[in-house]
């Protein structure tokens, strides 16, 4: 009766772990759950999230922790799949009794986890997802976003473009899914307010192997600017193929903040030169706080932080400030403390807008020069944030 034994074992195991999870409220270490992709296509982003949080936790703990309590990070792999993310998040909420949750990358996971946080009366934050919906029409009282959303990025980039290339003819190339389309639409409307003309647009399937089939249309419209919101491996292919075809000369390539990042910039190589984007972070930000952060990050992980790493790093300090202000880790008190909170991050002062839980922050336009993101322009946080469209709270 081996199976019987296995069943009994499994049931016993489940029960035993269920029993051991009981709470240590308000004493002992503060537990923060991190549900992030550690396998699959999004692994590189998950790594940056992990490294940023680990560095912040190390620094906070070395300085005496949050309100005297040490921070303990608990990681779970969400496989970039909302079903897995929710299951793992529930484990962290229910079994590990974490006080706070973060890490989700794709917006589907973030939205699903936000709902779960509500139903568990816990708080969560994203440091990566930039879909506008998370803090607009699908906003949640229990979800915060400390990274810049799509609109902040496109406002900054469009403002720069209007100065740099007035009335430019822009061709748009996005990945063919909801996020890709909405990012293109957001930038297009910002850019056209600044006087840009559209040369046409095309949406390529996600994970396209070959972008050359769109090159003919691009060449035929002779645009001055190419805007793209592809990401990860897709960017590597798009930009290197553009370079192979000699199409990069005379063309300004701009894109979303996730298009060229520290994960794919080495693979893109020279083809990334001149690429510009609107973003909330660059390792080149010339401030003492950032220099210290970059040095520490590099020492720990042998690579530069990117926006995901920096935003994740910054999040823990927001949480620390809020808990210390609230004098508690209770959901309602921390939520109140987070609303309107201003705190210091490597990229400057961030403020969480109370009305939609979206962080306001100065935005930068960065351009790749010799493999580094040089800052070429910036927009103040007030000018970039856009109206509060959240009506739920």
């Amino acid at each position: 009766m081996k199976t019987a034994a296995i069943t009994m074992f499994a049931a016993g195991l489940l029960a035993a772990t269920a029993l051991s999870g009981s709470a240590f409220a308000q004493s002992g270490p503060i537990k923060i759950g991190v549900v992030t992709p550690l396998s699959g296509t999004y692994t590189p982003i998950g790594q940056q999230v992990r490294w940023g949080l680990e560095l912040a936790a190390k620094e906070i703990n070395a300085a005496g922790g949050i309100a005297g309590r040490q921070v303990n990070l608990l990681f779970e792999d969400e496989e970039a799949n909302p079903s897995v993310a929710v299951q793992k998040a529930e484990k962290l909420f229910q079994v590990e009794k974490v006080d706070f949750l973060t890490g989700t990358v794709n917006s589907g996971s973030t939205l699903a986890v936000a709902q779960l946080a509500e139903r568990n009366a816990k708080l969560a934050a994203t440091t990566v997802s930039f879909a506008d919906s998370i803090t607009t029409d699908k906003c949640s009282p229990n979800m915060f976003r400390v990274n810049a959303r799509a609109e902040q990025q496109s406002v900054a980039l469009a403002a720069w473009l209007a100065k740099e290339k007035p009335k430019a003819k822009v061709y748009y190339l996005g990945p063919d899914y909801e996020m890709g389309r909405s990012t293109v639409a957001a930038f297009k409307s910002s850019a056209e307010k600044g006087g840009a003309q559209s040369g046409g647009e095309v949406f390529a399937p996600l994970d396209s192997k070959d972008y050359t089939q769109y090159f003919g249309q691009i060449r035929a419209t002779r645009p001055q600017v190419l805007y793209t919101s592809v990401a990860g491996n897709d960017t590597v292919r798009l930009l290197t193929q553009l370079q192979d075809f000699g199409l990069l000369s005379g063309l300004t390539v701009v894109g979303a903040s996730g298009t060229v990042t520290s994960q794919n910039i080495t693979a893109i190589g020279a083809a990334a030169e001149g690429f510009a984007t609107g973003v909330g972070y660059s390792p080149q930000i010339d401030s003492p706080a950032n220099k210290t952060f970059v040095a520490a990050f590099r020492a720990a992980n042998k690579t530069d932080p990117d926006l995901y790493g920096a935003d994740s790093y910054g999040l823990l300090f927001a949480y620390k400030a809020a808990v210390e202000k609230a004098g508690s880790t209770e959901t309602d008190k921390v939520r109140e403390a987070l609303r309107g909170l201003s705190w210091q991050t490597p990229q400057g002062t961030k403020t969480i807008r109370a009305g939609d839980h979206q962080a306001m922050q100065p935005m930068y336009v960065v351009r790749v020069t010799k493999g580094k993101f040089d800052i070429i322009d910036n927009v103040s946080s007030e000018n970039a944030i856009g109206p509060d469209a959240c009506t739920r709270f």
């Binding site: 009766m1 199976t3 029960a15 299951q87 909420f93 589907g108 709902q115 139903r119 909801e178």
Partner: protein, 351 residues
């Protein structure tokens, strides 16, 4: 006097009974300790067990490997979610999911059943991929983000009602539904109709010369499997409150195939054990290393190569021998007809 296939099925029923007892034990323990997570994880494992059950019906009995069974699971989940957002009724959602997957699997079956063997596997794979892409790109269905905000429903049975938000209550409901689907499938497989399916796997070429239409039998199996997957999927949004296109992706179909192979192809109950085992494995290994694929891949390969009937295949023959020694057996420990009664009984007492 029972024939050998009936005997095997009865051995599976004994394992099913054992499973139900263990599940009830878990429910009781969970209720006593006020646990939420493990009960809900168990509920999810059961829901995916329903999908695995449908894969085993196809692979283990009619001999057709479906690499896209998540298609019907996903359709069931989406239809149930849409229904629940309009009208939060359990029965209505299940009925809508039933109808939708019935129609979808008839259409899918008309395409997929034109071919067999590996071609069938590739076609089912492709069908699911294409449909998942369509959902992924349809704004009305939430596109790549999926849909959140599916309400926590009250499930009414006459004067009684259970909240889907109650970990124990919903666990028992899902247990009843999934074991009900198991009992139904097991029952059908032990009828002349079901035996024709078994014959398909054993020697498809001979079947028409016995007077049975191969196409009709394959269609019946395919539609039945589609509906089982769809009804299981319909439970998912009730548990998690959201649906996303990932539910239709290959990862979901692939996990169901892995569950079936681990538990035991062609044992029916193996699909359910395998699914629970996979969830436990993933949960344990996943917290310990992000390289869970290696461990699961290795276990899976070893099972395919050395345990063609999976874990259940290791124990079931012993049970069969034991059952056949107990003669005569008028009402054995677990007659399929008794299972729903047992579940209903225990559900009543634990409320």
């Amino acid at each position: 006097m029972h024939d050998r296939l009936t005997q095997s099925m009865r051995a599976s029923h004994l394992l099913a009974l054992l499973f139900v007892l263990a599940a009830l034990g878990l429910a009781a323990m969970g209720a006593a300790t006020g646990d939420t997570f493990y009960l809900r994880l168990g509920t999810e494992a059961l829901i995916f067990a329903g999908l695995a059950l449908s894969v085993d019906l196809l692979l283990g009995y009619s001999g057709a490997l479906s690499l896209g069974q998540a298609l019907y699971f996903g359709i069931g989940a989406y239809v149930s979610a849409l229904t629940l957002m309009k009208l939060p009724s359990f029965w209505l959602a299940m009925a809508a999911a039933f109808l939708a997957t019935l129609i979808a699997s008839i259409i899918g079956g008309l395409i997929a059943n034109r071919v067999r063997g590996v071609y069938f596997a590739l076609i089912t794979f492709g069908l699911a991929q294409v449909m998942a892409k369509v959902v992924y790109n349809t704004r009305e269905l939430g596109a790549s983000d999926g849909m959140i905000g599916i309400p926590v429903i009250e499930i009414g049975f006459g004067p009684f009602s259970v909240s889907a938000g109650s970990p124990v209550g919903f666990f028992l409901i899902v247990l009843a539904v999934i074991m009900g689907l198991y009992a139904l499938t097991a029952y059908l497989l032990d009828t002349p109709f079901g035996r024709v399916l078994t014959a398909l796997k054993a020697n498809e070429k001979r079947v028409p010369f016995l007077g049975y239409s191969v196409w009709r039998a394959r269609m019946a199996a395919y539609v039945l499997a589609g509906v089982i997957a769809g009804l299981s999927g319909a439970l998912y949004p009730m548990l998690r409150g959201f649906v996303s296109p990932e539910l239709m992706f290959f990862a979901t179909s692939g996990n169901a195939v892995i569950s079936v192979v681990l538990g035991g192809v062609g044992t029916l109950i193996g699909a359910i054990y395998g699914s629970v085992l996979l969830v436990i494995l993933k949960s344990i290994i996943g917290s310990w290393t992000e390289h869970h694929l290696i461990v699961i891949g290795l276990l899976f390969m070893l099972c395919v190569m050395f345990l063609p009937r999976g874990l259940v295949g290791v124990v079931r023959p012993a049970i069969e021998t034991w059952l056949s020694r107990r003669r005569p057996a008028p009402v054995a420990a677990a007659d399929p007809a008794d299972l729903p009664a047992i579940i209903a009984e225990t559900a009543r007492t634990s409320r």
